[in-house]
């Protein structure tokens, strides 16, 4: 029942070509230490599923680990467009499928509910339906309306970062939950990273904040600052200075390679030192 593993053990267990759903939302609580570990290994060809994506998709695209992306959004909010996502879209080096925020949730939920699709009106009248061949229009048998059939999304793995976890895979999320519970339930295998591992007794004190349940979880890794450079509320904010450095580095192949050598290839303990060490991070990012 003890599911504690190291980052390297976990990412080695993910076969090339796997479909991976990633939790978090834009610059919030992305499982970045797991993503860096994936980006640092050899084989990739991953097929990503994200609802509101950001640095995690961009980093995996920039390190050529991705063959396909299902997304509702990929960006860095007001900080800018996602540079590697943008390049991959414009140069058509990767396969993309545009979904929407609710339909990604519905696709995951269809898998959870063990049905082939879920119906919605979302997307009608937009070009998402024109460019996305996965959606089908159908005549609803009850009232005769035209609806969108959102097919089940079936991730092999889900990567989720939480505030606290016990060794059995129960996880506490203290900030916005995003779509992480759906990812955890829909994936065949779910991997949690947690800021801190605590005993089951301590974890139970968090009541409803224990959002991830161990029956859906296969592995747990401890990762202090594991969401950096995205934020992990209420512990620390997104590191916008690092976001700037990332975006600047992504402008040329040379600076991008240098960024990856410094921050991606050596994981995970060295990363925290590379971005300034725990004390500096506390000073910069805690409220």
């Amino acid at each position: 029942m003890n599911k504690l593993l190291r980052h390297t053990e976990v990412v080695e267990a993910i076969p090339a070509g796997s479909t991976i759903a990633i939790g978090g939302s834009s610059l919030s609580r992305k499982p970045m230490s797991l993503v860096r570990a994936l980006a640092a290994r050899g084989a990739g060809d991953f097929r990503l599923i994200v609802d509101v994506g950001g640095p995690e998709v961009d980093l995996l695209l920039g390190t050529r680990k991705v063959s396909r992306v299902v997304y509702a959004f990929v960006g860095f909010e007001i900080m800018g467009l996602a540079p590697n996502f943008r390049r991959a879209r414009e140069q058509q080096t990767t396969e993309f499928e545009e979904w929407t925020e609710f339909t990604v949730m519905a696709g995951l939920d269809a898998t959870v509910k063990n049905v082939p699709f879920l119906p919605t009106h979302a997307g009608l009248g937009t070009d998402v339906l024109t460019v996305n061949p996965s959606f089908r229009l159908f005549q609803d048998p009850i009232e005769g309306e035209t609806l969108v059939a959102v097919p089940a999304l079936k991730p092999d793995f889900a990567l989720i970062h939480v505030n606290l976890a016990d060794p059995f895979g129960n996880g506490v999320i203290l900030g916005d939950g995003h779509v992480d519970v759906l990812c955890a339930k829909a994936a065949r295998h779910t991997i949690l990273s947690a800021e801190r591992i605590v005993s089951p007794e301590e974890l139970q004190r968090y009541g409803r904040d224990v959002q991830i349940h161990r029956i859906h979880v296969d592995a747990v890794v401890e990762a202090a600052w594991g969401a950096h450079f995205t934020g992990c509320a209420p512990y620390y904010r997104a590191d916008l200075a690092h976001v700037q450095a990332y975006l600047a580095a992504a402008r040329t192949p040379e600076t991008w390679d240098a960024y990856c050598a410094r921050y991606v290839t050596d994981v995970p303990a060295d990363y925290i030192q590379a971005v300034g060490g725990p004390e500096e991070l506390v000073g910069r990012l805690e409220v």
Partner: protein, 285 residues
């Protein structure tokens, strides 16, 4: 009293919000207009402090990055299911700022050029398709009204405006209702539901707004255009007190400059929050 265009727009946007509905705060202008409306004519609004949570607290404009930071900002927590349930039940409002909006209110945040081989790949439709298939008020704003942003036809429909698809599949559900730009306030009551001027901001001429628009605009027939009412002194006091670091101005700047300014503001905001937090702790003791 002196005011700037961001404040004029926020006041105009606030006037469009009322009722016991959730209002999401995805941008600084959206958050501030919701908060202003709540503090003036619409106390019943359930304003969120982030795109997905924190109901019933004062929004902080940088929280639109998507997370609350302290217990004081937490408010009532929500889930993504709560958000989409409110959208599907039409108890939700949001101000959306698209990269392009067209004559019939279709909007684009996905791509410039063809979707499969874009000249500029932007971000992806996010939750706009959900809004434009369900809500009875669809609210857009544009901070740089020009022929590149207010266009004859969007390159990609991230959100459904008027047109044959709407007629066939949606009817009025999720149809565009308002556009506020740096030049004026518009609705979609022109011929065939095309964009029409409701009011022009003080100092903006009909010629200027027409020149900034990528298609022929409709004006009201009597030839006398209303002028957008300026923000009141009370409006300005509320806007400036809730956004002392002027995050609202960033939406009028170019990409890299806005990012640089935000990084500075973000750190100043953290220090202010930290000071307030310690002050509160002192009081509790």
């Amino acid at each position: 009293m002196d005011y700037s265009v961001d404040e004029l727009m926020i006041a105009a946007m606030a006037r469009e919000l009322s009722g016991e509905v959730m209002v999401s705060s995805v941008t600084a202008l959206g958050a501030l207009s919701a908060y202003l409306a709540k503090r003036t004519h619409a106390p019943e609004l359930a304003v969120l402090s982030t795109p997905e949570s924190g109901m019933e607290v004062t929004p902080m404009p940088t929280l639109t990055l998507g997370q609350f930071m302290t217990d004081a900002q937490r408010g009532i927590p929500l889930t993504m299911e709560d958000i989409f349930d409110a959208i599907f039940l039409d108890r939700f409002r949001i101000w959306i700022n698209p990269a392009q909006i067209d004559r019939f209110g279709n909007v684009n945040i996905t791509a410039i050029g063809p979707w499969a081989s874009p000249r500029v790949a932007m971000v992806g439709s996010r939750g706009i398709p959900e809004d434009t298939s369900h809500l009875s008020a669809i609210l857009y704003y544009v901070t740089n009204h020009s022929p590149r942003t207010v266009v004859e036809r969007v390159d990609f429909r991230s959100g459904a405006g008027y047109g044959p698809d709407r007629e066939r599949l949606l009817g009025q559900r999720g149809a565009p209702t308002r556009l506020v730009t740096n030049l004026g306030v518009f609705d979609f009551n022109g011929p065939d539901h095309s964009l029409a001027v409701l009011s022009l901001h003080p100092g903006v001429s009909r010629e200027a707004v027409q020149e900034a628009t990528g298609f022929p605009l409709s004006f009201s027939d009597d030839g006398r255009m209303d002028e957008t009412p300026p923000p009141s002194e009370n409006d300005l006091a509320i806007i400036r007190a809730s956004d002392p670091l002027e995050v609202r101005k960033l939406e009028f700047l170019g990409g890299r400059e806005a990012a640089e300014r935000l990084v500075q503001i973000y750190e100043r905001e953290r220090q202010a929050m930290r000071a307030a937090l310690w002050q509160n702790r002192g009081r509790l003791r």
